[in-house]
Amino acid sequence: MQSKLSRREFFRRSTAAGAAAAVGEATGTGAVHPPGWRGTTRVEQIATNCEMCFWRCGVLAEVADGKVLKLEGNPDHPLTRGRLCARGNAGTGLLYDPDRLKYPLLRTGQRGEGQFRRITWDEALDFLAAHLNDLKSKYGPESVAFFPHGVASEFFHTLMKAFGTPNSAEPAFAQCRGPREVGYALTFGQGLGSPEPVDLEESKLIILIGSHIGENIFTSQVTAFAEALARGAKLIVVDPRFSTAAAKADWWLPIRPGTDIALLLAWVNVLISEESYDRHYIEKYAQGFTELAAHVREFTPEWAEAITELPARQIRETARAMGEAKPAVALHPGRHTTWYGNDTQRARAMAIVTALLGAWGRKGGIFLPTPLKRGTFSLPPFPESKRGRADGAGTRYPLASEEQGVTNGLVEATLTAKPYPIKGWVVYGQNVLESIPQQQKTLEAIQHLELMVVVDVLPVEQVNYADLVLPEATYLERYDAPAIVESAKSPFVATRFPTVEPLYESKPGWWIAKELAKRLGLGAYFPWETPEEHLARSIQPLAVNPDVLHARGAVAFEGRPYIEQRKTEDGPLFPTQSGKIELSSPLLKQLGADPLPRFTPVEDPPLGYFRLLYGRTPVHSFARSQNNAVLDALMAENEVWVNDVAARDLGLGDQQRVILENQDGVRSLPVRVRVTKGIRRDCAYMVHGFGHQSPQLRRAYHRGASDTHLMTRVQVDPLMGGTGMRVNFVRILVA
């Protein structure tokens, strides 16, 4: 699927304007030539969107002779304006990874052994259709569970719904953003979405609670963060670890892990007792203020000092800084927020601080999404499931998203056959063994399955447990459904286009889903022939020319991010039950939960143990990029951060190899110690995603240690089913 525009036309439309803007300022050269050459090779530039993570940054692939020579940032992309992170720049390392899945594979040995036989796509799809129909007739369609991830999964979502199963769950909810989405929705009537609409550009004060922007790289967010600091915005970082962001902070608060709610309540106490909150905003938009004020009266900074181990003076000082900067205070809601099982309540406390500062819907705070219409096909009605969901979303976990589901709920249901048996898993775009904690449980659940299908690009851990493996084309080789992104200041539509033909026998996800649908007799749910047709219909209401979208990769629209710009068509400002910001939550009260957040202590590590914390590095994404040769060259394995004093007590030297053993006796692979002053004595920290167990990942195999492997324990959030994972403790043994 190549552009129909001529190259010259393409450059005129897509490159020249953006490049001129970007270059003229910096070099002052003025002259802009189409960058149509790489050395002595003439290249074509094809616009698409990155998928090294899920932020969808704009990419221009420079292609010659069917090969991607280089990836450049796309200066036309409304979100990222030509910037790409290390991973985005290293996309060819995925495309040309020699370890990629190349052909459909059928398991021949025992689950976990990794013995497969190469089969054809026809055989694979026939096999899959026959087995799915078999499960449907034996146990009902709900017995098939779907584990998707990312924008690319849209086609499989349609397929699974048409098949008749409501059971789909992605780790983006119960292992990641769920608590914050629920906590903010309880307060403001709507969650945040992705990308999170934090108005860093306009903020006068940025607050990060456990968020490590800089190590966690979403390109445009990092750009906005850095620009804000350069502009003079102040920064408060609450983190037990001296993160990259902490090193830039005006106030670094090395909090005792698990006590964030106490800090937040003390901030609320100061804002109210010193009357530095936005009184006008609260009177106009909020309800439950009296209850909140009474609730926090006792939660003074002195009270919090004893719990958080942060000086009361510092708590007061930071609260005052908020009062001064309001409403332009960007309290980042966090992203991975499943920490201790009380996470929805922590998110509520953060939302309440945001509300008191009048920052929701205001410049420099949290801005509002602008609705965009999406074109749809008229499909036959999806079958209704009589048995409901098996993962507890909406029932056992009353506030869990039924759209995103509870992965661990599905694992549990598979293990226990309650509320009914789950016998088939279809996994697309996520690695269930690395993204869901309690690996052992997941492995046991897999043993209960009659069918496990994995659609993936790389032979990650779970592939070895699958009955059928389907090799998907990488993001540089396929079309994906357009991302219609509302939670950007200028909302936009972005589309992934193939830049080269799929290598080996890999196939794009849309093709796999559509072909499978045909064989299941569900072809009517895919009433389009080509991706172009699908795209044209999907973006029809946006009045965007598909050729322009193809040439530019993304097209932006005018947004209405602030309260004063809202129109009736945007819906109610605060779509809660009361139509107001609910400082005290009637819904939580109704559910028998605390209507106002309360601090409850979390278990401390036993003597000799550290709390295991984990996070990200700028050069890898989750557990999916460690086999990429380019990124491996920058970071081949992770390290475990240990406080220098604690290390001295244990006789550990910097870069020494150790093994971590958790509270249940589970041990990690050998990993190097980073001895540093930059972490509290009571915790150890490592970057997530290393310690791969799949030998087919020849580069990443057994490099570094896996934090997920050590998460044998979780604390489940009773409100939304999220798995709190910072409840595991490790001791350090010399390797």
Binding site: A22, T27, T29, G73, R83, N89, F242, T244, A246, V630
Partner: protein, 243 residues
């Protein structure tokens, strides 16, 4: 005539290494090597009053480059715009310049056995693009421009915002990569990664590293020269056709 310079704002830099990968990919740098790379100072200070910084290292295109004189073949030179370049046709891979550079900005590319380093992305500048590292920097922390041009962003950052050169009393050769940052951070970078004194070749190394390869190179030079001319012609010819 220009005086090209780069400024890296360490208050913004998050050490994400996008610059490293973009550069490696632009210049087909072999894995494990780099024309620009990011280093971390580690953490200094007393808990919880700590400090740390990243340091983005690359060729500084110094006013008085330490790498030019030691080059036995004239491969390393400074062009009219102040950019220090390596002529691959002349380079014999002896590595004297690598030793000489106080900033460790050069490496020997094992694939071609020639010295390689940052040239401010000259080819991109000629095409009207920014250097690869500048364009991709996620923190918008790198700036490139002409110090002779008062309208240039680097002019402002150097002459108005006080971007600094990484020099010591021992080594001061006029680097044209400048750094912005809090004084404590710049001092930490300088203390952790001080430029080292340039090292000149010892007489004993002369024969094995220079004369011998030179003889061998001379044999191949005729063929190489023809190849270069051919490609040059090919390229300019195509360009005329294109525009």
């Amino acid at each position: 005539m220009a005086r090209y310079a780069m400024v890296t704002d360490l208050t913004k830099c998050v050490g994400c290494q996008a610059c490293t990968v973009a550069c490696n990919s632009e210049w087909e740098v072999p894995l494990g090597f780099a024309r620009t790379h990011v280093r971390y100072t580690g953490v200094a200070g007393v808990f919880s009053n700590l400090v740390s910084s990243f340091y983005v290292a690359q060729c500084n295109h110094c006013d008085r480059p330490a790498c030019v004189a030691p080059c036995p073949t004239g491969a390393t030179f400074q062009d009219k715009d102040g950019i220090v370049k390596v002529d691959r046709n002349l380079c014999i891979g002896c590595g004297y310049c690598v030793e000489a550079c106080p900033y460790d900005a050069r490496y020997i590319n094992p694939v071609i056995n020639k010295v390689d380093k940052c040239d401010f992305c000259s080819a991109r500048i000629e095409r009207g693009q920014e250097p690869a590292c500048v364009g991709t920097c996620t923190a918008h922390a790198k700036f490139f421009g002409d110090l002779e041009d008062a309208a240039s962003v680097v002019y402002k950052l150097v002459y108005e915002k006080g971007a600094r050169r990484l020099e010591t009393s021992q080594v001061a050769i006029g680097p044209n990569v400048y750094y912005l940052g809090k004084k404590g951070n710049i001092d930490l970078v300088l203390g952790t990664f001080p430029p080292r004194r340039p090292r000149m070749p010892q007489p004993g190394e002369w024969w094995s590293k220079v004369v011998k390869p030179l003889v061998l190179t001379a044999i191949g030079a005729t063929f190489l020269g023809q190849a270069v001319a051919f490609f040059h012609q090919l390229r300019t010819g195509e360009k005329e056709f294109e525009d």
